[in-house]
Every structure is written in structure tokens, then in C-alpha cells.
Amino acid sequence: MKFKLINLLYLLTISLFITACSNDDDGGEPSVTVERSAVIENYSNLVYQSYLDSYNGAVSLQTAIDVFIETPTDANFTAAKTAWLAARDFYGQTEAFREANGPIDTENESWSLGTEGQLNAWPIDESYIDYVATGTETYAGSFTSIISDTSVTIDEATLASLNEETTDKSISTGWHAIEFLLWGQDNTTPSEDLPGQRDYTDYTIADDADRRAEYLEAATDLLVSDLNALTTTWAPNGDYRTVFEALDEDVALKQFINGAFFIAGDELSSERIIAPVDSTDGIDGLGQEDEHSCFSDNTHQDIWANAQGVYNVVFGSYGSISGDSFYDLVKANDEEQAQKLKDAADEAMEKVNAIANNAEPFDYLITLESSTDANFGVVMQSVVALQDWADEISASAITVGISL
């Protein structure tokens, strides 16, 4: 009974609100007012939940790796790889929170973490970490990869320091370093549709097996700890969450939608798709390993996750999180533009899914296309759709008074 009463009151309030708002229209359908503060709050919830899921995925990966190192069997090695793939899907969606002046890729604020490079830099410097192709163990030994250089103590702090030097570029930590330690170099041809073929005996009988295990553990611990820091700072009342929610509403909105704009229009479409398509070097001169998850052949899934992350931000929806969104705000101001935004988003997701669900792996698909083709294949079609989507995000931002 109590609940019903509250619901009734709630309905009444909403009705009043709608009536009040109808003044703003030019005689058309009464529209619902969307409060910027609600959009921002929902975004904060979404970011927190996304990082939390990513963190939990990384903890599962950590557990699987600990089991494997304790009991290094082929089955446990496979389980660790499966855990990496599962965790990666969560992380990929969080990339839409980059380039939003947030903690992950800023350096100079008290709340800055600046850990993007440490978490996800690519390409990694494989021979800086370990031996690479079979037959290069001696080479790695005489040129002292971190694993073969027994004078280096392998722990989280050392890896973090060896990774960064004074540049902002990473080379030896994060998702792809762990991926390399699990799969090894992918020296198979694309048509074989196989990832890297590292043998689990690299952790049992091979040279430096113990140090390799230490590296894998330390790199994973660092990943977990970085994701934990991101989760904590975005948690309700967390350091950055507090800073973010205190921003001028337009600034907050601009920052977060800029992140979505950047991933769709630049990082994913250009850096992660056009660049590998256009790369002409590589095995057999085909450049097929110029792809982000080149050891595990998981790039198709990375692409889906990055695009899905943008979708989450635009529509304010992720898992159990749902609330007022950027899209809702656009719709309240300009229904026509909102429709364009929705159509572009759906089109982009359809094209991205054509890569993600393709019978052929990404590293093979990119050998079939060029960015100068007269008619684009599935890969370049996704670029066009993603950039169109970014254009609609930008045009939509203008309708709510924000210039990206």
C-alpha cells in the first residue's frame, strides 16, 4: 500500500512536470525534460560499474593465473587464457571513458592516475620482455630480455618502472604483455586462423621458466591493482567521482561525450582499424599482425567491445545500469537529431558486429582490403560507419549546447 501511494505521487509529479514543460514546445508533442545532472549521475554509475566488472574480471584472471603457476598444466594454461579473453571484453568497453580528462589518462591533477599506458599500451616490446619466436631464445639471452636478465628483480614496482621511463609510452606491462606471456608470438599464417602457440612448458621445463612465471604474476597483479584504483576513484564518494560530479554540468557532459566521440571517430576507427588495414609489412608482407590483440587473435572482439563502450555511454545503459542518457538529452532538444544519432549508432554496431561475428579472423580480413579500395569490404565499412557515428555524436552535442 505504501509503495502504491509513493508511485501515485511520483506519477503526479511527472505529470505536472510534463505539463510545465509543454510550454517549451512549438505546439508539438509534449516532451520530457531531461536533467543534465541526472545524465551525469547515470554516467558516473555506468563508469563505476564498468570498471568494477573489469576489475572483477581481472581478479578472475589473476586467480586462474595463480592456479596455473601453482599447477602448470596445459588445462590450467587454457583456463588462464579463457579468463584473459573474458576479462578483456569488460575492459574494452571502459575505453570509452578515455580522453574525457578523467583519471585514466591525465597526469597532473591530484586525482590523476595516468595508468592508460601501463594498462593497455600497444604495441608491446616483446623481446624486451622475453624470447620471441622459437629459435630466438639465445638471442633474447644474449640481449637480456627482462626475463632472461637474472640481475633484474621481477616485481610490480620494477615492471612499472621498466615500462614507462620518462616517456608516456609503455612497452612491457598491461593486457598485451600478459597476452604475450600466455599466447606467445603468433607466427602462423592468417588463413590458419590460429593465435600464438606458446607451450605451457615455457612455465615448467623451459629456460627461465620460474622468472617467466614471476613476470606473468607481477604483470597481472599490476593490472589488478590499476583497475582497482580506477574502480575506487569512480566509486560513490570516490576521489574522482567527487571531482567529476562537482564539475560544471556542461563541462562534465562535454568531457564524457568527447570520450565517446574520440573512440568512435579516432582511436577505434583510425588507429585500430585503418592503420592495420593499411599496414603493408608483416608476415608475408601482409601486415596481419599489426592488430591490437595480435597474440590471442582477439582483435575482432576488442573492436566490438570498444564500440559497445561508446554505445553504453551514448545511451546510458550497461548491464543493470540504466537511466537518463546523452541520447535522452538530445531527444528532448531535437528529436530529429536524436533519430540520426540512433540510426548511426545502430549502423556502426551492425558493421562492427560484421567483423566480430565474421567466419574469418580480423588478421585475415585486413589482408583483403585497402583504405583506397573503390568498394570497401566489411572492415573499411565499419570505419565509415564509426566515423559517421562520431559525426552524429558531434552534431548531437551541438543541439544540447556543447561544442566538442
Binding site: 616483446e126 620471441v132 640481449f143 630480455s145 612497452i171 583510425s270
Partner: protein, 465 residues
């Protein structure tokens, strides 16, 4: 006394201005239509930290894709060989940076050297006295013509750099004192023999905007400013550097670099890939391992060449099409006053404007554009305090190429510092002006004679570029 000097100076300035403008009593600080567009319609309106990273407008989808690929090759780290990412391996064995963007962060400016830290956009050129048959600098045994202070695993880096500082003090005419820090560089941990006494030149990375437009300048659009014997008696000469074109095997006018020692964008970029990152190209195809660096020589390379011609072309396309930001605050009174001073002090004598690109350009967009780079791209004697005393083709140890000023006011936004001049020794624009000597000595003295307000106005104008 001070007042008299200023009064005299103002009168002198007024007189010169009158003589130029026949009937105008004093040059008015007026906005001129379109003066903010330094590259016509090609400029970008941006005041963000990515202000140097935009493409010129109008590129087709395919060209945007080429720009994006070039951007990726410019930004991403190169890794040591052998690697899965074969298109991006071959770094080193010795190097200064892992990516173009390490030095040209966000396509911007490198920082001054800081003792004890690995360089971030700073390097030192080396040579022995004399010239080779191409007129190029002679390498130093064991080190070549550039010091690489980093190396891949298992390889010796060549040496580390050390700086000490000498304080130079001075006073403005109004009594305001100033101090400049003069860096004096030496080396430590030399791996291949002593570097004591070698010729050296410290360099910071320049922002890489507008390079396609400079490429497209016909030689005579640069030499039109040359006045080698100072025939007009304004104290400023200016001459072109003629340097070796390793692509065409001929002497050509030098356009790029602090000493105008690279004739083409291709040579400038291929030289940087080779010298700064240890990457071979078809232009510089030999591994950068000066004898006796045997470990360097024996290391696995990333293919021959490590950067393919197709990749190099994409990097060049990217570099050639980075837009120049349009000016900011160009209608503000202090900026307009500063503009008048910039001309009346004759800063414009070297930091020249109004060159027109020709038809030999990286794309049709860059053709026939009137540009205002605020540089004549010529060599000028800048005095002993700035001298590196290391000749470079025709450039003497005291000569430097005029630095284009376009974009200068956005360096702080893009790179979070205001380090200027060839080694970043000037902490800001004011210090950069005060470092000017040689042909610019009189102009600097005239700047020092300005009131504090006028000095600020001039700096505001430069900041608006």
C-alpha cells in the same frame, strides 16, 4: 637619462613609421582583415591541447585514411626486433626516442634537457672538424653525427648528457633586471671513447605544423629575403643554406631543422627516423651503428628497410597536412600594439611573412597559398651566446635558421611548457628575445629600451601567433 633615451626612441620610431606610410603620422594599431589566418583557409581554429594535431580541412576520405595511418606510425612506439608487429619493429639498436611523438609530443615542441632525466625531445648532434665530399658534417669515431643516449636490451647506449649552467645577467632600460641561464653541455658514461672536445650541437624537437606548406615554397620565395652583404644596411643579412639532397644527389636549398640542413621533408623525416630512432629507410638504409659498435651491428634488424617506402609516404603525408592554428586574440588592443612594435623594431626583418607556395606540393590543397610563417627560413648570425660552434653545411657555428613563429603561443597549451630556442634554454618568449644577438643585437637592445608595457604588448602579439 632613461627618459631621454625612450623619448628619442619613440621619436625615431615615429619617424620611421611616417616615412613608410607617407601621410600617416603614426602607424595605427589596427586589425587587418584576415590577418589571423596564417595559412589562408587551411588553418584550424583550435585552442585545445591537440591544436597542432589537426589535418587541414578538405581532405577526402581516402586522404583522411592516409593521414590516420601516418598519424599512427608517428604516434605509436616502435619496438625492438624481432616482434610480431613486424610493421613497427626495428627500433634502435641505439636511439633517442621510441616514437616520433616522444619528442614531438602531440605534434608539438620538445623540452629543454634536465639533468638526470632521459631526454624528452632533446638530442645532441656531434661532429669532427671539417666536411665530407657532400659538404656534410664529419662523424665522430665511435659515435657518428648524433649521440644516442638510449639503447635496446643488451646494447650499450653511447653516452649520457650532463648540463651545467652559467647565469647571464642584464638590465632593461627601465632598470628591471633579468637573468638568463646558459646551459653548457658535456658527456658522461661514454661507451666508445672520450667525447671531450668534439663539436656538438644541442637540439630540441620543433612542432611539426605547416611543414607541407614550407615544402611547397619555391626557392625564390625564400631567397627573396636574402641580403647576404646587407645591401639595405639594416644590420640584417640572411642567406640560404645549401645542403646535400641524399635522394637526388645534388645540392639544394635547406629548409628544415635548426640550421636549415635538410632540403626536403622526406630527408628531414628519414633523418629523424634514422638518427633519433635507429630505423632504416630507403634513403638512409645503413644501420646506425658507427664502428666499433659491434653489438649494435650484430643485432637483428626489423627488415630492410625497417620503414617501408609506403610507410614513409604515409608519415610524410601526415606531416605535410598537419594544419597551422589560426591566431587568437588578434583584435585585442595590446596584441595590435604589439604588432606595430614587431614591425617597427624590425623583428619582421627575419620573422618574415607573405610567402606564396608553388605547385610542387604534397597535394593540391597546399598549392598557391599565401602563408605567414613569421620566418624567412634563412640563416642569420645570432651571436656568441647562442652559438653552438658546430658548422652544418654552409651554416657557421653562430648561424641559425629563423624559427617560424606560427603556433608559438600554443606550445604551452599543447606541451605544458614554454621552452624556446634550439635547445629549449629560453624559459619563455621574453627570454627568447633576450637571447637574440649577432644580427639581432640592435633589435634586442631596442626591445630592452621599451617600457614594460610595450614589452608585454610585443610578447602578447607573439603569443597570438
Amino acid at each position: 637619462m632613461t627618459h631621454k633615451i625612450i623619448l628619442f626612441f619613440v621619436l625615431t620610431l615615429s619617424f620611421f613609421n611616417c616615412s613608410n606610410d607617407d601621410y600617416e603620422p603614426i602607424a595605427e594599431a589596427e586589425y587587418e582583415e584576415g590577418e589571423e589566418l596564417l595559412t589562408g583557409a587551411l588553418g584550424v581554429n583550435s585552442t585545445s591541447s591537440n591544436a597542432f594535431g589537426f589535418e587541414i580541412s578538405g581532405l577526402s576520405f581516402v586522404q583522411q585514411a592516409e593521414f590516420a595511418s601516418g598519424n599512427s606510425l608517428f604516434n605509436q612506439t616502435w619496438v625492438s626486433s624481432p616482434a610480431s608487429t613486424t610493421a613497427r619493429d626495428g627500433l634502435g639498436p641505439t636511439f633517442n626516442a621510441r616514437a616520433c611523438a616522444t619528442c614531438h609530443f602531440k605534434d608539438g615542441r620538445g623540452q629543454a634537457f634536465i639533468n638526470g632525466e632521459d631526454s624528452s625531445g632533446f638530442l645532441v648532434r656531434l661532429s669532427s672538424p671539417g666536411q665530407d665530399s657532400n659538404g656534410d658534417a664529419l662523424p665522430v669515431l665511435g659515435y657518428g653525427t648524433q649521440l644516442q643516449d638510449r639503447a635496446n636490451n643488451g646494447i650499450d647506449f653511447e653516452a649520457k648528457i650532463v648540463a651545467t649552467y652559467e647565469t647571464i645577467t642584464g638590465t632593461y632600460a627601465d632598470g628591471t633586471p633579468y637573468e638568463l641561464l646558459k646551459p653548457i653541455y658535456s658527456f658522461s658514461q661514454e661507451s666508445f671513447g672520450s667525447l671531450a672536445g668534439v663539436l656538438m650541437s644541442p637540439r630540441v624537437a620543433q612542432q611539426t605544423i605547416g611543414l607541407g606548406l614550407i615544402s611547397a615554397l619555391p626557392d625564390d620565395e625564400i631567397t627573396k629575403f636574402a641580403d647576404e652583404a646587407d645591401a639595405d644596411n639594416d644590420g640584417i643579412s640572411g642567406r640560404a643554406n645549401y645542403v646535400y639532397n641524399y635522394d637526388l644527389n645534388e645540392q639544394d636549398l635547406g629548409k628544415y631543422g635548426w640550421k636549415a640542413n635538410a632540403p626536403t621533408l622526406k630527408q628531414q623525416v628519414a633523418g629523424a627516423l634514422h638518427g633519433d630512432m635507429g630505423l632504416t629507410t630507403s634513403l638512409f638504409s645503413e644501420t646506425n651503428c658507427p664502428s666499433p659498435q659491434q653489438d649494435c651491428e650484430d643485432a637483428i634488424n626489423g627488415g630492410e628497410p625497417e620503414v617501408t617506402d609506403e610507410q614513409l609516404d604515409k608519415i610524410l603525408f601526415y606531416q605535410a597536412h598537419l594544419a597551422v592554428p589560426n591566431r587568437r586574440n588578434y583584435k585585442e588592443e595590446n596584441v595590435l600594439k604589439g604588432k606595430v612594435l614587431f614591425t617597427s623594431l624590425n623583428c619582421i626583418g627575419c620573422h618574415a611573412i607573405n610567402q606564396k607556395t608553388g605547385t610542387d606540393a604534397a597535394s593540391e590543397y597546399l598549392e598557391n597559398i599565401t602563408i605567414k610563417p613569421y620566418s624567412d627560413f634563412l640563416l642569420h648570425d645570432m651571436g656568441e651566446d647562442l652559438a653552438d660552434n658546430r658548422p652544418d653545411f654552409l651554416a657557421t657555428g653562430t648561424e641559425w635558421r629563423t624559427q617560424p613563429l606560427w603556433g608559438i603561443g600554443l606550445i604551452s597549451t599543447v606541451n605544458s611548457h614554454t621552452n624556446l630556442l634550439h635547445d629549449g634554454r629560453a624559459a619563455n618568449i621574453e627570454e627568447a628575445i633576450l637571447w637574440h644577438g649577432g644580427e639581432a643585437e640592435t633589435i634586442k637592445e631596442n626591445f630592452k629600451n621599451l617600457s614594460a608595457e610595450d614589452r608585454e604588448n610585443l610578447i602578447s602579439f607573439v603569443n597570438s601567433l
